[in-house]
């Protein structure tokens, strides 16, 4: 036995309260295999007993794009800054839905996993993290679809100008992930005792899409509205994504830096709140 025989050598101490910033990140690292297995579980169980399998990942963005093209493009005639309408909408949908999925799925993580959390200990953060990674796979598949469509329009000779800002993609993805995760963690922590906020998430995320330049370019707005919309941290991210791949609109450094700062702050708040609630949520959920 390698166990220390002195009374001081405790491996674990269970106490009522912990310091706010003790996030047990080492524990999370020790459970990294669980994270991978959970991602695998989500992926495999998604298409088990379906005929089309992973093809289902394509269906949602394709149909949404068709509907958006018809409603916003043909009926409302909202400008896309010269980019082909389907491509413009798909860029918005694919990136927005990654954020939206991260947020909505993590915002119910305590409720959805109450039974398993009530029976076994593992770092609770593993669960929301696995959601973020699972969604990354889904995003990857949909992103390929987007690239295919982009290549098609390039070959057709449309005016699409991908530029160096494409290289910001990993940063954008990371920021969307931590922003969605951070907000989701805050919401799930607040809803363990009072469920009210959970009702807001469902339609809130729908409305938030219209407060983000997903179906319209930021430049389409009047100056006074543009500032309000830019307060939404997702704004800078989506705009940069579209600018990098399509060359429409422009890069707003201020909005982008604001997005970085806001995302990081929200993420840290989310972690701390989640960490505080996870210790006792089993008693109240």
């Amino acid at each position: 036995m390698k166990i220390n025989s002195s009374n001081q050598g405790w491996d674990l101490e269970i106490k009522p309260h912990d310091t706010v910033f003790n996030l047990h990140l080492r524990d999370v690292w020790n459970y990294r295999d669980l994270l991978l297995l959970l991602v695998r579980r989500d992926f495999v169980s998604f298409y088990k007993q379906t005929i089309l399998g992973p093809v289902w990942f394509f269906i949602q963005p394709i149909f949404t794009t068709i509907v958006f093209t018809f409603v916003f493009g043909n009926l409302a005639k909202i400008s896309t800054n010269g980019a082909p309408q389907p491509l413009f909408y798909m860029a918005g949908i694919v990136s927005w839905s990654y954020f939206a999925d991260c947020l909505t799925k993590t915002s119910t993580v305590f409720r959805d996993n109450a039974t398993i959390f009530g029976k076994v200990y593992f770092p609770r953060l593993i669960m929301p993290l696995s959601i973020v990674f699972s969604n990354l796979i889904k995003f990857g598949v949909q992103f390929i679809l987007f690239i295919i469509l982009m290549v098609y329009y390039l070959i057709q000779g449309n005016r699409i100008e991908p530029n160096w800002y494409i290289l910001l993609l990993p940063v954008i993805m990371l920021l969307m992930a931590i922003l969605g995760l951070g907000l989701g963690l805050i919401i799930t922590a607040l809803t363990t005792k009072y469920r009210d906020l959970a009702f807001v998430v469902g339609f809130g995320i729908q409305l938030a899409m219209y407060a983000t330049p997903v179906i319209y370019p930021l430049s389409y707005l009047q100056e006074k509205y543009r500032v309000i919309i830019a307060l939404n941290p997702m704004c800078g991210l989506i705009e940069t994504f579209k600018y990098g791949f399509l060359g429409t609109g422009q890069f707003y450094p201020g909005a982008f830096i604001y997005s970085i700062i806001a995302s990081v702050i929200i993420f840290i708040i989310g972690l701390v709140v989640f960490n505080k609630v996870e210790k006792n949520f089993v008693d109240t959920i």
Binding site: I3, W10, L12, D33, L34, S45, K48, V120
Partner: protein, 438 residues
């Protein structure tokens, strides 16, 4: 003395009863305000002991209160207590599912808990995939699981179904697979909650055997909660008894189980009339009263080992001309029948004048004396029967009286240790020297 693996100090856990509605927000604000001003939490001041049977005035209860416990490394410890005594809460706090309200626990070594089998099993995944997933949830690394994979499959005995989704498993197969994963956890401390209540007898035996290996063979510390006294006494050297959230006693298992049985059942030396819970009603006669008596002290439920146990049995005959035998079974606390007796002439030391006679309407009393120096120092319970000529019309009252035999030292002049056996009769021993030369 060996090292301490788990040290529990002044551990308490409070729960809020009732609904979390709009009213609880106001209370939360009160608590927060008290905290800001550095005052004691008003929520905890009004807490009371957790007895679910008594309606309390406060909706805060202490599910655990001031528990102090030291568990040595390598011991198998049982935890018993009736429903709501705090057993599961204690395990939950120990396994970090919820945190204590006050006090702390110090633990040496890796801890794995098994509060349920098959936690996190996904019905769509195959047995193989679930072994990995469940193993990882329980804290195993992927490499570790791969190394033990064959053993796990072997132990579960469901090799043929390993690539079938577990939703197609029978519930027995499901449990087998789940327990098998848990059985191969590598942790210094294993916490097990009543998981043996499932699976068939053969598999339960296998699980108990495996847990025995874990504690005795591998020197790991095991904490085991169960209502199954036989399992507890087989597996655990020491046991702690919880009652209403506090630790009543922590001692050798046998002593604790006897104490538990006595304290929880609150024995009566006498039951009469409608207090007698009849399992089966006889059409010709009713139980009227059953009493336990000592020759010298009258009604009692505890007897000295060298004292007669007198069972007085009163019953009402409802029809004239009824032929009927009163009978009793004596059981140990696990429900094993130790002896059966009735007042039949051939089974009686006396000549009972009413035996095998048609009885007329009225109330009768039959008294059975269980000899002194026959029973061991254990707890026993009595089943009473009224057996008419037509066996099918039998009247039964199960577990009607319970008593304990206390050690008095009468038989322990030469040997003072724990005396094995369900009974301890004084028997006829004689020694002689044989005419053999060496």
């Amino acid at each position: 003395m060996s090292d301490i693996a788990i040290k529990v100090e002044n551990l308490s856990k409070a729960y809020q009863l009732g609904d979390f509605g709009t009213g609880s927000l106001g209370r939360d604000i009160d608590r927060w305000w008290a905290k800001v001003r550095g005052k004691e939490d008003p929520f905890l001041k009004i807490g009371e002991a957790n007895d679910r049977a008594i309606k309390g005035t406060s909706d805060i209860v202490w599910s655990l209160k001031d528990i102090n416990l030291e568990i040595n490394q390598g011991d198998a410890i049982g935890i018993i207590g009736k429903n709501g005594a705090g057993k599961s809460t204690l395990l939950k706090v120990l396994s970090r599912i919820t945190s204590p309200t006050q006090g702390n626990i110090k633990i040496k070594g890796r801890i794995a808990s098994l509060l349920e089998v098959g936690t996190g099993f996904h019905p769509e995944l195959t047995g193989r995939e679930n072994i990995y997933l469940n193993g990882a949830i329980l804290g195993m690394r992927k490499k570790e699981i791969s190394r033990k994979f064959d053993e796990i499959v072997d132990f579960s005995g469901i090799e043929r179904y390993i690539d079938t989704p577990v939703k197609r498993y029978s519930s027995g197969m499901y449990v087998r697979l789940a327990f098998a994963v848990a059985a191969y956890l590598e942790s210094e401390i294993l916490i097990v909650d009543e998981v043996l209540a499932v699976g068939d007898a053969e598999f339960q035996k296998k699980c108990l055997g495996k847990m025995n290996d874990v504690s005795k063979g591998e020197g790991r510390t095991v904490l085991f909660v169960s209502h199954n006294m036989a399992a507890i006494s087989n597996l655990c050297q020491k046991t702690s008894l919880l009652k209403n959230g506090s630790l009543q006693a922590f001692d050798y298992t046998r002593a604790i189980i006897d104490r538990y049985i006595i304290s929880e059942k609150q024995y009566e030396a006498e039951v009469t009339g409608t207090d007698i819970k009849v399992t089966r009603q006889c059409s010709k006669a009713n139980f009227y009263a059953l009493r336990l008596l000592s020759e010298s002290r009258g009604l009692t439920t505890s007897f000295a080992i060298d004292e007669e146990v007198i069972v007085s049995f009163e019953y009402d005959i409802l029809e004239d001309n009824t032929m009927l035998y009163p009978s009793i079974h004596l059981n140990d606390i696990m429900g094993t029948c130790i002896l059966a007796t009735f007042n039949g002439l051939s089974a009686n030391l006396n000549n009972d004048l009413y035996s095998k006679k048609p009885l007329n309407k009225g109330r009768y009393r039959s008294v059975c004396k269980i000899s002194a120096n026959l029973l061991n120092n254990k707890t026993y319970s009595i089943n009473a029967f009224l057996v008419p000529t037509d066996d099918a019309d039998l009247g039964i009252a199960e577990d009607i009286l319970t008593f304990s035999i206390e050690e008095t030292g009468a038989m322990t002049k030469e040997y003072t240790g724990d005396w094995a056996g369900l009974i301890r009769p004084k028997l006829d021993w004689m020694t002689e020297k044989l005419p053999v030369e060496f």
